[in-house]
């Protein structure tokens, strides 16, 4: 996919950082389904690794996360489904052994799409904060108006 510029950002801004890699760790096949849904919107998404906690003990899940992130030279993002889940806590344990890895929990489709559009533009810490805000802001309530 080629569109990597933030549509709301400054188009003249030079890309200051290399692409922030992401590992998505979730229950069941949510990670795969989320990426499939995101690809319906923006086309093929490269450089995202997916992992399920299905059937894995703490030790094995931590090991699987460790294996997925150990090639990251300049840190990266761990996107997980919810705070306090095994994907999050095992991710925190594994991330500790590697450079600057930041975890964002509560992944949703708007958050994932925002990651895709900003991963070539922002450093990992700024990107994580942006995604937290985007994920939160995307949850809205529309009340029906009687006809």
């Amino acid at each position: 996919m080629s569109a990597t510029r933030d549509p709301e950002g400054n188009p003249g801004e030079p890309p200051p950082v290399s692409r922030v890699p992401a590992l998505i760790v979730t229950h069941a096949d949510l990670a795969e389904a989320l990426v499939r849904a995101a690809e319906r919107v923006v086309g093929r998404i490269e450089d995202v690794t997916l992992l399920s906690n299905e059937g894995l003990s703490r030790a094995d899940l931590e090991q699987a996360i460790d294996t997925s992130v150990k090639g990251w030279k300049q840190g990266g993002l761990l996107l997980t489904d919810f705070w306090g889940g095994s994907c999050h806590t095992c991710g925190a344990s594994a991330a500790r052994r590697h450079g600057e890895i930041v975890i964002v929990t509560g992944i949703n489709l708007p958050l994932l799409l925002d990651y895709v559009y900003n991963r070539d533009r922002l450093a990992v810490g700024d990107l994580a904060e942006r995604l937290q805000a985007k994920g939160r802001d995307s949850i809205r309530v529309q009340r029906g108006v009687p006809a």
Binding site: G55, L56, S57, R58, F82, G84, S86, H88, T89, S93
Partner: protein, 161 residues
């Protein structure tokens, strides 16, 4: 009576515990009883922050055994989590009166045999289970409240003999 759930689960605090059992039993405290976690300041902090709105106490087996009776009389519901049958057995040996354990997740590792989708046991696990059963402790296999509860010996014929 504060003890609402004693659970054997190698993931300790995780989604099924916080969301599914949490919604059913509304714990105000979760005890993570694990010598390894208790000995690691960093892991202690990780688990203490893992359950927003719920107090998490990380304790070693001797600490938890000493506090077990007092917690039983405390207000509000409490959970106690251990990662394996061996820890449950050591907790009993150290004096904690636990009449029933929920067996919620003992995942595959090399050398372990499948009992069901989320319980795998080796010879040592079965020794620990037998010791608990012999002491009159019930071992109930059930991952989430919505699934059927079954006794461990009913699922694992090796334990019935």
């Amino acid at each position: 009576m504060s003890w609402a759930l004693h659970r054997i689960d190698d993931r300790l605090i995780h989604g099924q515990v916080l969301v599914a059992w949490g919604a059913r039993l509304a714990p105000v405290r979760i005890w993570v009883v694990d010598d390894g976690v208790a000995a690691s300041p960093w892991e202690r902090e990780l688990f203490q922050d893992a359950a927003p709105g719920i107090e998490v106490r990380v304790a070693s087996v001797p600490e938890a055994a000493a506090a077990h009776a007092e917690e039983a009389a405390a207000p509000g519901a409490a959970f106690l989590l251990v990662r394996d049958l061996g820890t449950a057995r050591r907790l009993a040996d150290a004096g904690a009166a636990v009449s029933e354990w929920n067996v919620g997740g003992l995942h595959y590792a090399p050398g372990k045999e499948k009992v069901n989708d989320y319980v795998y046991l080796n010879a040592r696990d079965r020794d620990d289970a037998r010791a608990l059963l012999l002491a009159g402790v019930r071992l109930t296999v059930q991952d989430v409240p919505a699934s059927r509860a079954q006794t461990l010996p009913a699922l694992d014929p090796a334990l019935a003999s």
